[in-house]
Symmetry: D2
Subunit: 473 residues, 4 copies
Amino acid sequence: MSIHEECGVFGIFNRNLEHDAVQETYLALYALQHRGQVSCGIAARNGDNVDCITELGTVPDVFNKDKLASLTASGKGNVAIGHVRYSAQGEEDEINSQPMVMSYAKGSISIVNNGSLVSTAKLRSNLEAGGSVFQTNSNAEMIVHLIVRHRLQTENIEKAISRAMSELEGAYSFIIMSPKKLIAVRDPKGFRPLCYGKLGNSYVIASESCAIQSIGGEVIRDIEPGEILVITEDAVYSNKDNCGQKTSMCIFEHVYLARPDSVIDGASVHRARLNAGKFLAIEHPVEADVVVGVPDSGIDAAIGYANESGIPFGIGLIKNRYIGRTFIQTTQRQRERSVQIKLNPLGNEIEGKRIVLVDDSIVRGTTCAKLIKKLRDAGAKEIHMRISSPPFINPCYFGTDISSKDKLIACKLDIDEICRFIGADSLGYLSRESMMKVAENSKVEFCSACFTGEYPVDVTGENFVDKYSKKIN
Amino acid sequence: MSIHEECGVFGIFNRNLEHDAVQETYLALYALQHRGQVSCGIAARNGDNVDCITELGTVPDVFNKDKLASLTASGKGNVAIGHVRYSAQGEEDEINSQPMVMSYAKGSISIVNNGSLVSTAKLRSNLEAGGSVFQTNSNAEMIVHLIVRHRLQTENIEKAISRAMSELEGAYSFIIMSPKKLIAVRDPKGFRPLCYGKLGNSYVIASESCAIQSIGGEVIRDIEPGEILVITEDAVYSNKDNCGQKTSMCIFEHVYLARPDSVIDGASVHRARLNAGKFLAIEHPVEADVVVGVPDSGIDAAIGYANESGIPFGIGLIKNRYIGRTFIQTTQRQRERSVQIKLNPLGNEIEGKRIVLVDDSIVRGTTCAKLIKKLRDAGAKEIHMRISSPPFINPCYFGTDISSKDKLIACKLDIDEICRFIGADSLGYLSRESMMKVAENSKVEFCSACFTGEYPVDVTGENFVDKYSKKIN
Amino acid sequence: MSIHEECGVFGIFNRNLEHDAVQETYLALYALQHRGQVSCGIAARNGDNVDCITELGTVPDVFNKDKLASLTASGKGNVAIGHVRYSAQGEEDEINSQPMVMSYAKGSISIVNNGSLVSTAKLRSNLEAGGSVFQTNSNAEMIVHLIVRHRLQTENIEKAISRAMSELEGAYSFIIMSPKKLIAVRDPKGFRPLCYGKLGNSYVIASESCAIQSIGGEVIRDIEPGEILVITEDAVYSNKDNCGQKTSMCIFEHVYLARPDSVIDGASVHRARLNAGKFLAIEHPVEADVVVGVPDSGIDAAIGYANESGIPFGIGLIKNRYIGRTFIQTTQRQRERSVQIKLNPLGNEIEGKRIVLVDDSIVRGTTCAKLIKKLRDAGAKEIHMRISSPPFINPCYFGTDISSKDKLIACKLDIDEICRFIGADSLGYLSRESMMKVAENSKVEFCSACFTGEYPVDVTGENFVDKYSKKIN
Amino acid sequence: MSIHEECGVFGIFNRNLEHDAVQETYLALYALQHRGQVSCGIAARNGDNVDCITELGTVPDVFNKDKLASLTASGKGNVAIGHVRYSAQGEEDEINSQPMVMSYAKGSISIVNNGSLVSTAKLRSNLEAGGSVFQTNSNAEMIVHLIVRHRLQTENIEKAISRAMSELEGAYSFIIMSPKKLIAVRDPKGFRPLCYGKLGNSYVIASESCAIQSIGGEVIRDIEPGEILVITEDAVYSNKDNCGQKTSMCIFEHVYLARPDSVIDGASVHRARLNAGKFLAIEHPVEADVVVGVPDSGIDAAIGYANESGIPFGIGLIKNRYIGRTFIQTTQRQRERSVQIKLNPLGNEIEGKRIVLVDDSIVRGTTCAKLIKKLRDAGAKEIHMRISSPPFINPCYFGTDISSKDKLIACKLDIDEICRFIGADSLGYLSRESMMKVAENSKVEFCSACFTGEYPVDVTGENFVDKYSKKIN
């Protein structure tokens, strides 16, 4: 059980049809797959025609040769957008899959979005009062309706988007494909990452820089918080009407959500994790024989801890790469030992050793407790747990699924109690102060509401929906 | 290659939850499957919650135990609606599958529709000018948008529907599921059938009476052309503001589209086909040894012909029941003999005989020619072709897919020429006059535009889209 | 619930590669699909290479373009064999699917078989004592092992088969594909049909003549009971060492199992059914208004009854063509009315009428009782049930699944009691004497053990396995 | 492109039915999935009944709840065996999937095998001369036939196996499930690993110790080369008739094939890889800033190199965890950059650095060249390639798929040439001498034929089948 990012987005304006836009999008979605495995989709525009496929499943589950071919049947794609989804506001149903392709008075409009709006009830009810009919409960559909309303009264779509943004609150990083333009929009707080780059003479937009690099593109820069970046066949320009607000990028992108080879707003994610480990070593030193990271997300911080402390880094846990969503546990006994099936202690690296065990977070504490028990069974002499983020004590409304307070161990127990609950010899969390410093060179500030309760926007009307009970894994 | 009906609809108001509404809908869709095999779907309402599944494929393709269970997860269903679709205006894609489930200012609104509107471009553009955003190109979505617009300015949904009907032109028989009501609506011309009945204390609505009977219900009556029938937990009432116009039910429902065990507007379909055969025998008598119907749709008329003429009815062609949409013909040779793979002559019923061969229609003539050749190869001495409808010479805009003029053999050749083309010894079509009389006791009049070119509504703005080239079968 | 044939076989020796052997086999299997819907398969030989695909499901379920292409990847197929299976001795598992492709000292040997051996325990134990290892419990595998044993001591495979036949007892019609030959073998009693024909310059073998005709071939003749027919690239010859015994073809092939457009051992199946109806009219006349056949298998006999009696033939029941193996009935209520979902009375043909209802057999009587109830609900005044075969009172060991005695209503009740149980006004079964005469011009005699208990081979060691409880439909 | 292990096996004797044998096998196969992803299967015995499921695909692809349930329908399983397969002698077809379940004179016999026999042509021809009929071309089937032949002349199965072993040459580690016994057999050379342990009071057998630990069992010891270990409901005993020969375990199990948390014949795989890295640092030292391992198999050796050299270990390449067998590359351009899609350089760890890049082997060199190019594009100043095994120059006949000589770069180029080909600044391979020392505490000796050409058994009759051209990935 862990924290999940909600979505990843990608778009390409395939100038002069130099690429196969669908194929590039397909490849880029692989690089964003860690941001969502519930559904995915691609929409491609050839001339006036927009073809779209969305389905439940991962990129390899959904796209086979026939489906990719059907998307390119009418051409190589002037523009294409793609999406991977966890399952934010909507359930795990197909209806909320993206891209959403719609049409209105000015032609077609397609969208992919990452984030989570707040104050949506009021927005929706305003739109409905004007005759809007909704077919999903996704933010993306509401955003389009709002843009459409403004578009009927403005000279161009970027102006309409700019006005719509003044009515949207919360986290959103979306890409719009209109008949002539590909448009990237990031909310004024910059909650979620969004960047763009070049691929040959074409332009690409992605949630994370790793997606651009994976397909051989060159990253240009992050979309600024509040920016509307417009790409056409022969121009690239920005509307920055909504820029300049105090920013609050989600620090959990650096802690856990983003891929370590991404650079977000100037800060390397991998470097941020090494730093978290380094600060942890400084704040919570201990005498030990080996530093072991919980794969995969604890490895970087473990290296950072090892480098700072001088205690050797070691591989102490082997992760089974084949256990996924479809893993079946029919008996209680299976469930009890599920941790070991996923993570097996590497006996001779553990036996008789004093271990610093590094992970990125503790949610309920049960998984952590099982893991520590397994390490003790494998002969660990001491286990010092180190967590590369502060304790969460507040729900998130901006697109991660940090649990409601009842489920969060840090809401119910103090650190000594947690330490006893998980069975560690010592426990240290990264301090809030250090957390805010891990992202070296970052051009933005961070939201730390999950640690502090200080929300960057008004969330008093929000109800937290606990999605943990539905999780398979 | 033959003419296809476009859709079938079903709905149930499950009073006091006496039934499993989803299961009843599932069963009823089986009885409507002949009206559409491209996609199907069911939406069920439990309290405020509406669950919906739509997918490409037939009822058994789409619904398995898990899917039926997921639809009933939240209860037995206060109301459910279902749909089978051929592929009218939209392509064979999933996005146009029904039911469509939407929400607007007054809550949820779900729809299933059978028919085909005309003058949609103007309607759509009016709605878009008011800010409407469309996600499909189906009539159903447009109808809902229009109803919603009116609903915001009327006291109840039936009034809104009534006003909307004055802006809709063409063929539609739809069922609406709103938060408290199940509503059946049939266009003022009555192009497509729609009837309702009781199942225990509950009410059911269906495209054809056979669906109500199949699930053990009792048919009450047809929805009148122009009628809005409203069913609630404790009342059933009608709005007839739009009733009383000159009707024009599609005569092809009787000729080919409907199931023979259905009764439409008071007329038995089976009886209508027997009558067609009877009139054909009177109009085009011939000396022969046996009357053979082309299975399945020519059988009833063949019996009618045999009974009238005194020539014995015989089974002369065996239809392969297993050849369906997925039949693969990779070689030219296969395609050439596809007729025989589907219909095999029954040698000793054919050999040395003078045959009256009865079918419901001739579209391009190629299939008919192959069939006659096969019968001659099997030893038929004479073959007298009799068609239980007049020649089509005009396209249909109301929900069947009668081909454009270039494909219709009767637009290019006169009857003698057709007779030579198909290789028959004689050829007789049912006269228009007799066609109009086949439906005994019918309470409605008929559209015969495909034979006469006299369209009951203005179709001058319509472009006929030839869908034949895309057909698999 | 009805009686099922167990298998259908097909083979083609594609001389000079004039056809696509896999495609022809695929098409022919469609025409044999009524003989088995549980699994199917095709094996094709190109030079020394044999490729084979078998899977659970019908022909369209199993074969798509990719699979057909994979079978023809190495060429057009010098020889191919195909199989459709119900589920005779084996269960509904994949392991028993055919063709079976094996190899032994002389090269590859592939088989498809229709029938059911008796005395298999002794045969298997003899083979095992010699070191045989079995991977299935199918007759086909045992037959191959036995042939292989003999082949090691004889000069050619037909001699080995001839010797093996002296050790095989019961019903079998198999096709063997060896490195150079295609061989058709029918047991000396001729229990199951098997015939061959030409397709261009190539030769084809099939369980029923309809399969040869469907693909445009010309039937030459039936394989004689006991005959081994060998087809090579340049010769066709027979071994008739085992011919000349008293024959006992299964009369149920004519009553129900075979397709009406097939001719078996000189007798037309359709004609046999008409005759059964005729004799029934003579033996059990009644005053009535209409003769109605239960679709599909009762239709032909109903026409025969109508022609003989002078009572008009009418369509009184409409069969739903879409209800198949995957039909889901989750509630008790559904199960109770399943008959009506499958067969809906055609109201105005039934109401107020005295009906002769013709079906081919009564197994348990429950389905028949429900059907009669539905007809009475639809207004039938009298219902006179006529069965076009005598009562079954004995199990079959030769490849049909006629139930054990406990399930057979005719073992428990006399005819008057059955009549009351099913709710008919009168009931008449065809006499055994007439049954034996229905197949006009037949060159073989018939097994009537299911009616008489006089088995043509010793079955005292057989245990009847009741498979009814496992049937889905 | 890399080297693949061919299979993994698992078995459990579920004493007193204390576990769910199928569930345990399912879980254990997850832990062996790295040994084969082409197909998998489980066979379970309940009393005399053996149920088996095998299919193409990985464990999560093949097994869902329904399939696991069908295997446990007849009970919790007295014994079960399971298999994961790459694709050794057979093609990627289903027919060669294991377990194979057979029956012979003494009852059922089921097998799962890992390894590759040599001299099979003679063995097969001897068996065929005795009447054996084969249905696959797998070693497993031949092994069973041979055992069966001996079993008919010996008092028990272990004696039969012992005799069979004297006729088998090459690599095999198999598990037999007979009516009363579970038997583990490892070839006298011990080419492939095989060990056993306890799970409660039950016994388990597995290719690797990690599978036993993952399901919470306790490893007892390795099966000795040549040993036949028999487990019954109340005894565990060995036949060691074939023990005591010179051993030759495949050293590539330590280099690449086995999971690092396994201990094989007393030696930790992880430790062996650390040692390989250590020796590499001693043999090929270089001045550099960071040691980067190619994920996943190069990571351990990179840590070993870093620890020995004092150069910091760093994460420099991020592996995309979602790219698998179904990855589609339709354009040439995609194929060219496939390396980067799978492995993305972590920019700020690479830029301006002198890098020691550690991988386990170089096969063709093309992938390595692309990777080095990408690292240079990312700013690497120097790249020193270090390979944790010696160059392969000979094919393997014992169950790995090391390529034929034409594909192996080390057969065509010397080390300097390879270094230039891949574009590295320097290149060092581990020496053969060091290779033989990496497995600390190993109780067996190693096969190094792929490096030295000195085969431990006679392979002069073997034809190497190059399987590389068929690989998807």
